[in-house]
Symmetry: D2
Subunit: 353 residues, 4 copies
Amino acid sequence: MSTPVSGGVAAPLRVGVVGTGVMGTDHARLLARSVSGAVLTRVTDLDAGRAQALATELGAGASPDGPALVADPEVDAVVVASADATHAALVLAAAAAGKPVLCEKPLAPTLAEARSVVAQLERDGTDHLVALGFMRRFDPAHVELRAALHEGAVGAPLVVHGTSRGVTAGPGATSESSITGSFVHEADSVPWLLGSPAAEVSWQAPRRSSEAAEGLHDPQLLLLRTADGVLSTVEVFLNARYGYDVRCEVVGERGALALAESTHVVALTTRSTGLVRSSAYAADWRPRFADAYRLELQAWVDGARGGTGTRRAEAAGPGLATARDGLRAAAVCDAAVRSMRAGGSWTAVEVPA
Amino acid sequence: MSTPVSGGVAAPLRVGVVGTGVMGTDHARLLARSVSGAVLTRVTDLDAGRAQALATELGAGASPDGPALVADPEVDAVVVASADATHAALVLAAAAAGKPVLCEKPLAPTLAEARSVVAQLERDGTDHLVALGFMRRFDPAHVELRAALHEGAVGAPLVVHGTSRGVTAGPGATSESSITGSFVHEADSVPWLLGSPAAEVSWQAPRRSSEAAEGLHDPQLLLLRTADGVLSTVEVFLNARYGYDVRCEVVGERGALALAESTHVVALTTRSTGLVRSSAYAADWRPRFADAYRLELQAWVDGARGGTGTRRAEAAGPGLATARDGLRAAAVCDAAVRSMRAGGSWTAVEVPA
Amino acid sequence: MSTPVSGGVAAPLRVGVVGTGVMGTDHARLLARSVSGAVLTRVTDLDAGRAQALATELGAGASPDGPALVADPEVDAVVVASADATHAALVLAAAAAGKPVLCEKPLAPTLAEARSVVAQLERDGTDHLVALGFMRRFDPAHVELRAALHEGAVGAPLVVHGTSRGVTAGPGATSESSITGSFVHEADSVPWLLGSPAAEVSWQAPRRSSEAAEGLHDPQLLLLRTADGVLSTVEVFLNARYGYDVRCEVVGERGALALAESTHVVALTTRSTGLVRSSAYAADWRPRFADAYRLELQAWVDGARGGTGTRRAEAAGPGLATARDGLRAAAVCDAAVRSMRAGGSWTAVEVPA
Amino acid sequence: MSTPVSGGVAAPLRVGVVGTGVMGTDHARLLARSVSGAVLTRVTDLDAGRAQALATELGAGASPDGPALVADPEVDAVVVASADATHAALVLAAAAAGKPVLCEKPLAPTLAEARSVVAQLERDGTDHLVALGFMRRFDPAHVELRAALHEGAVGAPLVVHGTSRGVTAGPGATSESSITGSFVHEADSVPWLLGSPAAEVSWQAPRRSSEAAEGLHDPQLLLLRTADGVLSTVEVFLNARYGYDVRCEVVGERGALALAESTHVVALTTRSTGLVRSSAYAADWRPRFADAYRLELQAWVDGARGGTGTRRAEAAGPGLATARDGLRAAAVCDAAVRSMRAGGSWTAVEVPA
């Protein structure tokens, strides 16, 4: 994968992206335009026209389907951003082909399938080829919060308060998918922040928004206890309306640390409802985590290019989530869903061995 | 109580204050110096020297004890700020004497005693003479938050997040006193904000601060469900170290409302630990709620002076908590303590009839 | 003025208010309802009906005119809040009658008249009876900023940045009245903050708002140099539209101090122009400085009641502006107007001896 | 320069960096690790050992000197980050060789030299090969502020308030170098924000910090009037101590826009001086403008690679400053220095034709 060219510089990593929906398109554009050492060579999508349009825009080729893209000799490494149900097979195919793969969460739709994927990878000794797209691990604000916590800025952590709000629930959202699609980020990020695995979860039901669709309890409140005894409260609210708003505060024995408000410009203007100081909220997660996605892809490309002297320093930075991290997060979500079905009781997180 | 003087102005209300500890001293000074229509005539305390010193400072007299102060003809109305165990008897004595009384929380140390006080007042038809010192009802920030909520600024409320942090637990603090002394404010303010009575409570245990004394679980997390289905999370942390910090956010169907940070001056300075933008936190509740205490006393004095034309408009503003409100808050705390003893299960709030 | 009643408490100060426009009405209501030790006995206004309505609302009497009110034996002390042109005569009349008087700025419409008033007061030895209504000296945020500065929090001050914005210029506003009516507050507050008198002023012309009326240059930028060499920039903008916004930052040798944003509640809501975090601005100066006005009146009443033991401690707090302070501020404004007419040149502040 | 490889992707741009001080090292690392489509092939420095160490770290080669690097066939494009006095010759050499060059400010140490460089480039028709490193044009916050302004969010601009504070002046800093080294950024960014060229400047002297070295007046206040009549105040303070702090507020006819505070994490902690909410300031410009530098280099590399379909969309984004922009900024600084020497009088900005 690393053919030396002039000056000892490794050849760029040729990347293919499976799925050209919102996430896949973002990944493809970042790989083509903003990531060092990568070139985008192939994209594919169930909607062939959409894939071809993106390929043309970015100077890449279009593959007929995911398996073909994975097998293509012009593809050194694969990003999986297709429908959740397709993740497991594509990850296994890429790993079997010896190609690094970055898979959007979830690794698989159910805990059982995720377990089976990880078991297969570990059996084959290919688990080191698989990374999970928990991009918060690369968000500069989360990274700085974690660093301050680990440097002891506020002493031992005791309580975490998380908030995960979006503007409008996507079509077909259910109480379960709110957990496996949104809460899954805290299921990974809270243990990562604290350095302690999730132990048990309790699901609680606030008053239901009248704007939530049938089958969706929204908002939800999740309580998460990690092995270190820290209790986290996580409000997940898909229909918060006012903006995409992710917050986190860690309360410790000697103070508290919180993500700062994420805004570039403050506007002082007259509005119909009064005179206000305002700062815009993002409409969705992309502007909020744009830098995190870029840095995640850069770290993945650096790692995939194989640790030349050039890259080693950066690769030592905050690391990518592994397939096993994906399995752990799936186990937390599984416990949350079981708690919901059991009326909120504390439910143990069971990570398959 | 309202002798007309020149120009139809009612005579000032002559107030006596029982207890000259931190709260009683503050009340006495406010009554003597910052409340319109009141004069401080008597103070008393178990520590006679302390009472006499304050009396001298404020141009008042010292009474030998609480009952003597209540009975004194130079006292038109009474503030009770003595030890919790003395509240019930002093309130009943003042009411029996037909004198308005403002009693610091709690009305009585136990739910049973509080019930018995309210029953007696209602039997005698004197409950209108008794007000409870839930000063948040007069805090301009809480009042503005409640008004915006009731005007529909964010639609129907769904979730409330409350935080109640102090610097250091007082001597003798226990897990129970943390509830009946600190959480009791949210036990009153959350139903008051929402306009819906408390229905059930669940007590949850975060990791315990190593700085908490034996017998004190600190911090605590209380979940409170009101009759409207809204779920509130309340973190109570007596040993938060960094400052006195009361926060409240109400999340509704179309947005969220939160108390703003309460600070006057921002300092940009170099500190040993780095370069920072900082704003000072209060060391305790007094600077944070100074205005609330003053406005509470003003409303109480205005009401006690009896609704002349002059006062009526202001008295129609945000009202004082009643003895029954004190009983309700005590019932919430009682449920919280029962939940704690039961390991955190949801426990119904039972307000005696 | 201080007849002892029971318990040695001084009789309340009987106050009359001349002028029942916006400021006079606020002062009258505060004196009647929120200031300890005062009763409002008389009000008067050119509009007799308006005065009578307020008198009725507040349980006071109406006087036929300012001189009659000043002479009324039911009036111990006078607040002057009538038209600027009437201030000088009323202040002199009250002082001549030996009655304390709190006069809204300005002391007189011109520097020459202000000088003549102060000369008369000093000749008569009655200047101690006169206070000027520079309420920022009682604004808790300004007081805290000044205290931090004087405690050396940021070392020696070097630069001050002031902002004074309103929503809409009043009718008849001119470039001169913008200086004598708005900038006059910084003309007093900057020297008060720094503890150094104003030395010279330079007027600068930003681009003129197309919404400013004929004869009004708006916004304006004033540069003020105090005797200590500190340079202050003050933007005065009457038509800022978005809200009433007074800011101040003092930059020192080791850091900076600034007034914090003044808001109680933050709203996260969807607006037509996007998703925003907003905090309301006041529509005018009254909510912003409500507490300052109350504390100013309280300090004035306390002083006027004559320093009994009860009041001494509080009177030792931040003090009222004197007639001479009013003369100094008028001299700064006079220099600013002269600089404007001279095209912006630095112009010395000349305070009459 | 753009040899097509597989999939029509252009070959990476081979970049050489002259100067491996603070800025040059940052540029070299970004080009090697974080910019798409670039490879770092050569670096050089007066300190050959420093250059070699960086070359080794980044997998590049070391050139003996600037001219050799410019002439090297392994170098397609050049970044000039060496001492100010060397900029002009290196820019002209690169342009003469037909190689794109990104030159750190200033283009030349004096206005006369800058004029001569631009004249030469325009004579040769090579000015399109030269970009100046005014990185604020790529700072996401500045870009968003400018976009909101141009969309009419606050109506016509009237006043701008800029602040440019550093922690400690570098060795040898003088009153002139404070202007040509720090204020030069506002000399470019204010006209860029407003879309109007600088017309005249006035230099004003605040009280001088006792910590400023001989020959350095620090802080300074610059007044800048643009052709549209907008008046800008810019405080430049090299020894502000508390942190690196760049602010900008644009006040318009219907509101104001300001850069938000730039921070990721808020810490609530106890410090020796009290209880504070704090957010860290950067120690210098690198963390504040890290993203701006990366985006600037990316835009420059994209442009240098020549507008394939892949790159066209991004290249249409906010553009690089030209040599003529550098000349304009030098003319503003020249006027500021002349005003300083003339005691602060308004001085016309004269841009050579």
